[in-house]
């Protein structure tokens, strides 16, 4: 080790660099503040959504009572005789969502189980991204396929209307399969090997270990994935706008044309309702309801995933 000589050149440059670091401190603080501001953008986004939606929705509910909105059974804001009962829209959303989940839950779960428990790791490494491609296809493409391929195909065997809840729901289910599958797969893979091996040691078969040990242990993740899938289906717009039609009605007949909350919003946006008009405000009233429903589902999903998470450490 050299002794440090204050008059030495290398000491001088060392001191200079220290002083430079000290002056950098202001820069350091500034960068911290800038990065904090970036994180704040997301908070402002939420505030923006809540403020704008509920401000306009408030304007709507000054003209139309809560009772009309939630008790009337007709939704005809664009007709001469206006009704503002939101149930037909909720009905359309529930019907298409139910069909979608009837597809997405079995497909998603069996994909997850197969990839985790049966497939060779090399095969799974190819199949998993292939299944996830389904989530990367733009939803307007699913709408096209539902309207122009699935509906004509199904009309050979079922008396479907040209626009119907079934085709839209089926394609939405395929679209949501990776959402259910991916999160379930993560939950299933998080179940420790020792649990499976313990079960095998007791003389259980592979299938029995899946149904008695693995799935129960991964249940919180699976339920969370299903709730998240429902939230996706409720908020999905293009598939239902294109393939399910624009007729708000109360029905559980999947062969008929229905209108979802999102489809109504797209319909009223396409028209030119002047700002501040009642029609314009229905957009925000329905939007507020949609926002609250998906928010509740997301929070429940988050809560379930954390609340029932088994700790294996």
């Amino acid at each position: 080790m050299q002794n440090i000589n204050p008059r030495d050149d290398s000491y001088q440059s060392f001191r200079q660099s220290l002083e430079k670091n000290a002056s950098d401190d202001i820069v350091e603080k500034l960068i911290g503040i800038i990065l904090f501001a970036c994180a704040l953008v997301s908070v402002f986004t939420t505030f923006g959504i809540v403020l704008i939606i509920f401000k306009e929705a408030f304007g709507f509910f000054q003209k139309v009572s809560f009772a009309q909105f939630f008790l009337d059974t007709k939704w005809t804001p664009l007709f001469a005789e206006q009704h503002f009962g939101v149930w037909p829209l909720i009905n359309g959303t529930l019907l298409t969502t139910a069909i979608a989940m009837a597809v997405a839950i079995p497909l998603g779960l069996s994909s997850a189980i197969y990839l985790s428990e049966y497939a060779q790791p090399k095969v799974a490494a190819i199949l998993r991204p292939a299944v996830e491609l389904l989530a990367g296809i733009p939803t307007v493409v699913y709408g096209y396929f539902a309207l122009l391929f699935v509906t004509p195909l199904l009309r050979n065997v079922l008396p479907l209307e040209l626009f119907n809840a079934l085709s839209a729901g089926l394609m939405m289910g395929v679209m949501i399969t990776p959402t259910v599958g991916s999160i379930s797969l993560d939950a299933i893979q998080a179940v420790p090997r020792s649990l499976r091996e313990g079960a095998y040691a007791l003389g259980i078969t592979k299938l029995e270990s899946i149904f008695r040990v693995v799935l129960p242990a991964a249940l919180s993740g699976i339920i969370a994935s299903i709730i998240l899938g429902i939230s996706r289906a409720v908020g999905e717009t293009m598939t239902v706008v294109i393939a399910a039609g624009q007729q708000p009605k109360l029905t559980i007949n999947f062969a008929e044309s229905v209108e979802t909350m999102t489809a109504y919003m797209a319909q009223i946006s396409g028209g030119d309702s002047p700002r501040g008009s009642l029609n314009f405000q229905t957009l925000y009233a329905v939007g507020a309801l949609l926002f609250l429903i998906t928010l509740a589902l997301n929070i429940i999903s988050y809560w379930v995933a954390n609340r029932f998470k088994e700790k294996y450490d």
Binding site: S17, E28, G32, I34, L35, C38, A39, L40, V41, S42, V43, T45, T46, G48, I49, I52, E56, P106, L107, S110, S111, Y114, L115, Y118, L127, V131, L133, L134, P138, T139, V140, V141, G143, Y144, F145, L148, F149, V174, T177, P178, T205, K206, E208, G235, E236, T237, M238, I242, T262, M265, A266, S269, L283, G287, L290, F291, T294, L297, N298, Y302
Partner: protein
Amino acid sequence: MATTYQRDDYLDSTAEFTDNIEKRETLGKVFEILFLIGLLIGLFVLALLLFDIFRDGLARFLSPGFLTETPSRFPDEGGIRPAIISSIILGIVVIVVTVPIGVGAALYLEEYAPRNWWTAIIEINISNLAGVPSIVYGLLGLGVFNYLLGFGPALISGALTLSLLSLPVIIVTAREAIRAVPNSLRYASYGLGATKWKTISSHVIPYAIPGILTGVIISISRAIGDAASLIVVGAVGFLTFNPGLFQRFMALPIQIYSYITRPEPGFANAAAATIIALLLLILALNGVAIYIRQRFTIH
């Protein structure tokens, strides 16, 4: 080995226990095949969808002028140039806006944020925003960019709306990439006297870039394919000029939607041809991402 089970000894467990192992293994095989079928149905639909779209649209896609002309009232004429240019500008603006803000937010949450209730609120908030439907972002964009800032139904309003839509995904994936950077790298940098920002800019970010890029591409692909929010913001279904930032605009998914809703049969082919263009654009984006990822991955 003959084993007898006394029901009375193990009431619950033996009641459902059967030692017919062949039958149980056969059932196991049956279910293995069922699970595989469940997996393959999704892939089959994907293949069928792509086949159907190429069958419907390839001829129109390859017809002269489809990519370079403006739309026409007749299904077999004109092209989708304004939609392509709109989508590309939208994508560029989204990247320019979201990458710095998204990576900045991720860096703050991973490297700077104290573990307190305020940080927890920001985190929960971001995961909630990732689940907000695209059409609700449209309502936000309509209120803030069209009316509050006065841009009207212009391309910039659509681009900023898509940026807000993309941010949560970018933040979440960038955080994961930053979290995966080993602490030993940071300590080594601090040990050499580097400041916090120097450590981040010269060690953490270069190491995390492949992961960050993956998130950027996933969310840009989603933004380019999104139509619902743009419908609310005011994209038009028919445009005869290349849009500027402050002009009326469209996008490839909007062009597809607009073609689908026209009654004449030829428009379905035009829609399928536009879908091919959109899928190729998304594919190209992913190709670029994979290339950059391999180029910059630090081994």
